[in-house]
Amino acid sequence: MNHFAYSRASDVADAVHQIAADHTARFIAGGTNLIDLIKENVERPTRLIDISRLPLDRIENTAEGGLRLGALAANTTVAYHPEVERRYPLLGSAILAGASAQLRNMASTGGNLLQRTRCIYFYDTATPCNKRTPGSGCSAIEGVNRMHAILGTSEHCIATHPSDMCVALAALDATVVVVGRGGERRIPFRDFHRLPGDTPERDTNLGPDEIITAVELPPQGFAENYTYLKIRDRLSYAFALVSVAVGLKLAGEKIAEARIALSGVAHKPWREPEAEAALAGQPPTAETFARAADRLLHGARGFGHNDFKIPLARRAIMRALSQAAHGTPQSQADKRIA
């Protein structure tokens, strides 16, 4: 592994001070993605600032009736937390659909938000990649792009964001709490991750001297009608080809409110507010769901190997909406799709 220096942050202010003084340093918490990227020579930090001992692992109710997840709360801890199981099962289900038990025990909430794409060219330092080396070109657009994005792409990058947890957080309208030299800042989840545009090297809008301290969930958790449906090459421990997080609020025979977020299809968790708004007041039928899927996938474009994702996503969205409407969420252990 490449060599680096090591220091510990004594508190949040010290962490901000240390990172602001050295932009070639990186924070390390769970390390599940960063250590791998250092071994692959993709990330080359000169120093790691250990934030894992900071007191940011608490999960507590907010004054507004929501739930605050400390940035260092392990993915496992969040998924199995009684309040998450009771009020935000969509989040727990999404977390348990990702990675392995060992990785979920290590990975932090903040780190999950900051994980990098698994684009094979990003990892392969022998090939051009605008995300890894800005200006060098994108190898995926005309390369092997089966895993790549179909929405929100640019001529510079067609990578996807790999997180499952973030798809649920996007659907739930979470807020990311960050601290920098200027104090605390609250970022709506939809504004946290970026589309690639002409700066694909920037995954998020987190500032270079900022640290994530918490993720806050609003009161509405869609615990009655939700699902996280993940379609992948093998039944477990694989990144999504397409995944769909759905939360519905039903009123009688009609949909009162809908949230739909997609993964595996874009550089960030994908939402389409118009498609969600159009579901309000509609009956939960196959026709309604098909129209929603078409709205969500409006403008989708394949790059050859990943053309199949467009019809796959359409069917996955319809299935997920149906699962949520029927109150029969996808099991993350028994993967048969009813």
Binding site: M1, N2, H3, F4, A5, Y6, I28, G31, T32, I35, D36, I38, K39, E40, L48, D50, S52, T76, Y80, A99, S100, A101, Q102, L103, N105, M106, S236, Y237, S331, Q332, A333, D334, K335
Partner: protein
Amino acid sequence: MASRAAATQKSEKFPAPAKTAITLVVNGVSRKLEVAPWTTLLDALREHLDLTGTKKGCDHGQCGACTVLLDGRRINSCLTLAVMKDGANVTTIEGLAEGSALHALQRAFIEHDAFQCGYCTPGQICSAAGLIAEGRARTADDIRELMSGNICRCGAYPNILAAIEQVLAQRGEPAR
């Protein structure tokens, strides 16, 4: 002399980061060691403490051969920096047996022939110990899902599943 001066200059410009003294409680025994920042827990166990039961497979967190219990929770030791775990409790495959009495999982793996080459087995057993401690597995599907971080190239999965089901049943948590 000139080359020595240059060498000295070079080493001053790029000083080797100091090793850090840490203490790990490994299998109940307090062990002091000095590690570089980039030494993984896996390398610390194998290279510094000669505990070679924990295996290096992919070294990227994908295969699970390096699984150990850290403060009771199963983790990938290949993606863990030893320096970050100063003071932690580590249980490896060498620490599961009690004296000459094998751990129930070790006995069950032998009974069910739950391995062929054996390379993944220490990770499988430590992972299974973590799974049992978590108390989340009720069905065979649960076990398969929650053991998916451990790859067996020989394909002993049916027997690994049977071994874990047996131990869960012994503990009064029958798999369905």
